[in-house]
C-alpha cells in the first residue's frame, strides 16, 4: 500500500466525521429578510380587483383565492372558488398542501389588505411562490365590482369604459339585472361642413 493513499483516505474520513457535527439548518429554503423587504417594496405582489374580476369571469383555472379571515367570517361570504385558510392555520400541513398546488396563482384576501399582506409575508418567507394579495380586499371589491360608482361626466373615456366593464362584472358576480337607460350627457357637437367660397386656384 502506498503511504499517500492512506493519508488521503484519512483526510477524507476526518472530513466526513466533521460533517456529522455540522449544525443542521432546517430553514435553508427560507427567503432572507433583505430579499423579502425588496419584494415587498416592489409592490408587484398586489392584484387589483378589476384584474381579479376579469380573470374569474374568463374562467382562468390558475386562480386560487385564499380567504385569510376567520372561519366565522368566511362562512358568511366568500369570493367564488375561495378556500378559507385563517391566519392561525397558515403553517399546518393541510394549508401547505393547498398552497403548493402546481400551476396556481394564490391570491390572499381579507377585509382590507393588511391581514392578507401578513399572510403573504409569512408564506413567502417559507419559500412558497406565485403568491398575490388582493389590493383593497373585500371592501374595495364591493366598491369597485359589486357596486361600482359612475364616473363624473368630465372624466376621460377610459373611466367610462372601466365603469362599463365593472357593471358587467357586477352582473356576473351578483346575478343582478341592470337597466341601461340612454341618457344624453354631452351636447352633440355640430360639425358643419365648411363650404369653400373661392375657386381652386393655381398649381404651379
Amino acid at each position: 500500500m502506498n503511504k499517500t493513499y492512506v493519508i488521503l483516505a484519512l483526510v477524507l474520513v476526518l472530513l466526513g466525521i466533521g460533517l456529522i457535527f455540522l449544525k443542521a439548518n432546517p430553514n435553508n429554503t427560507e427567503i432572507p429578510p433583505d430579499k423579502l423587504l425588496n419584494e415587498l417594496n416592489d409592490n408587484t405582489h398586489y392584484i387589483s380587483t378589476d384584474d381579479l374580476a376579469q380573470r374569474i369571469i374568463e374562467g382562468d383555472p390558475s386562480v386560487q383565492l385564499i380567504d385569510v379571515r376567520t372561519a366565522k367570517d368566511a362562512a358568511g361570504f366568500m369570493l367564488p372558488g375561495a378556500i378559507n385558510v385563517p391566519m392561525g392555520d397558515l403553517l399546518t400541513e393541510e394549508s401547505k398542501a393547498v398552497l403548493t398546488q402546481d400551476g396556481k396563482d394564490f391570491i390572499f384576501y381579507c377585509n382590507g389588505d393588511i391581514l392578507a399582506n401578513q399572510a403573504w409575508i409569512i408564506s413567502r418567507r417559507a419559500g412558497l411562490a406565485r403568491l398575490h394579495v388582493l389590493k383593497g380586499g373585500l371592501n374595495c371589491w364591493v366598491e369597485t365590482i359589486l357596486q361600482p360608482k359612475p364616473p363624473a361626466p368630465t372624466e376621460p373615456q377610459e373611466a367610462f369604459d372601466l365603469y362599463q366593464a365593472r357593471l358587467g362584472a357586477s352582473q356576473f358576480f351578483t346575478g343582478a339585472t341592470i337597466e341601461v337607460k340612454k341618457s344624453e350627457t354631452k351636447e352633440n357637437v355640430d360639425l358643419t361642413k365648411k363650404t369653400k367660397t373661392r375657386k381652386v386656384e393655381g398649381g404651379c
Binding site: V11, P32, L37, G76, D113, A126, L167, Q171, K181, N188
Partner: protein, 211 residues
C-alpha cells in the same frame, strides 16, 4: 519512473482537494441579518399582541409634546420634506435593513418609548413592520391609516367612524350579494359617452393643376 509520476499527481490532487474545502469553510459566512422569530412565533405574535396604533393616539401624544412615541417616516425623503409628523425620523422603507437604520432601532429597542412606523397608508407600513417584528424588535408598532389620515385629521372633532381601520368590514357582503338586483339598479343608470365621429369631407371639385 512512471510510479513516481503517478504519486506526485496524486499528492497534488489531494492538496488541492483539501485546500478547496478549507477555502470554502472560511469564505462561507452566515447572513448578516437573521430572523429572530420562527414563522410559528410570528403568527402567535400577530394573533396576541396589539400591533397597531391609531393616528388619533399619536396626534394626541404629539400635541402635548410627550415622548411616548418615536415616529419613523418610511416615505421617500422628498415626501418627508413636504410634511411629516413633528419629531419623526425619516428612514425610507427600502433602507430599514441598512446598518445605520438597524443601529437606530437597536438604540431605541430597550427604551420605554414605542417606535411607530408610518407610510402613505397602513399597507405600505405593514411590510417593513413585519420584517422588523420578525427580526425580534418588540416595541415597534405601525400606525393605522398612515400619513394620508394623519395629515387630514382634526383633533377637535376626530372621525367617529374610525375610518382608518381598513380591516373592519365596511359592508355586509352576504347581504349585498342577496339583494344585489336592487342595489345595482338603484344607482344612476349607465351613462355612455357620446362618440363624436367627424364626417369625412367629400371632394366635389375635380383635381386641378399640378405640374
Amino acid at each position: 519512473m512512471r510510479e513516481i509520476y503517478k504519486t506526485t499527481r496524486l499528492s497534488v490532487a489531494s492538496v488541492l482537494f483539501v485546500a478547496v474545502i478549507i477555502v470554502g469553510l472560511i469564505t462561507t459566512r452566515r447572513p448578516d441579518i437573521e430572523y429572530a422569530l420562527t414563522p410559528q412565533q410570528t403568527i402567535e405574535k400577530l394573533k396576541n399582541s396589539n400591533n397597531e396604533i391609531s393616528p388619533l393616539e399619536v396626534a394626541k401624544s404629539m400635541k402635548v409634546g410627550g415622548n411616548q412615541f418615536v415616529c419613523i417616516d418610511l416615505r421617500s425623503p422628498y415626501d418627508f420634506s413636504k410634511g411629516n409628523i413633528s419629531g419623526s425620523v425619516n428612514i425610507p422603507a427600502n433602507r430599514i435593513l441598512e446598518k445605520e437604520s438597524l443601529e437606530f432601532f437597536d438604540k431605541n429597542a430597550g427604551k420605554t418609548a414605542t417606535i411607530v412606523l408610518y407610510d402613505e397608508n397602513q399597507s405600505l407600513a405593514n411590510g417593513p413592520w413585519m420584517i422588523l417584528m420578525q427580526l425580534g424588535y418588540t416595541n415597534v408598532k405601525m400606525m393605522q391609516g398612515g400619513w394620508d389620515f394623519y395629515a387630514k385629521m382634526n383633533l377637535e372633532s376626530p372621525d367617529q367612524n374610525l375610518s382608518w381601520q381598513v380591516e373592519t368590514p365596511k359592508y355586509n357582503y352576504a347581504a349585498i350579494k342577496a339583494s344585489s338586483s336592487q342595489s345595482v339598479t338603484s344607482g344612476t343608470p349607465a351613462e355612455k359617452k357620446e362618440v363624436v365621429l367627424p364626417e369625412k369631407k367629400v371632394k366635389t371639385k375635380k383635381v386641378e393643376g399640378g405640374c
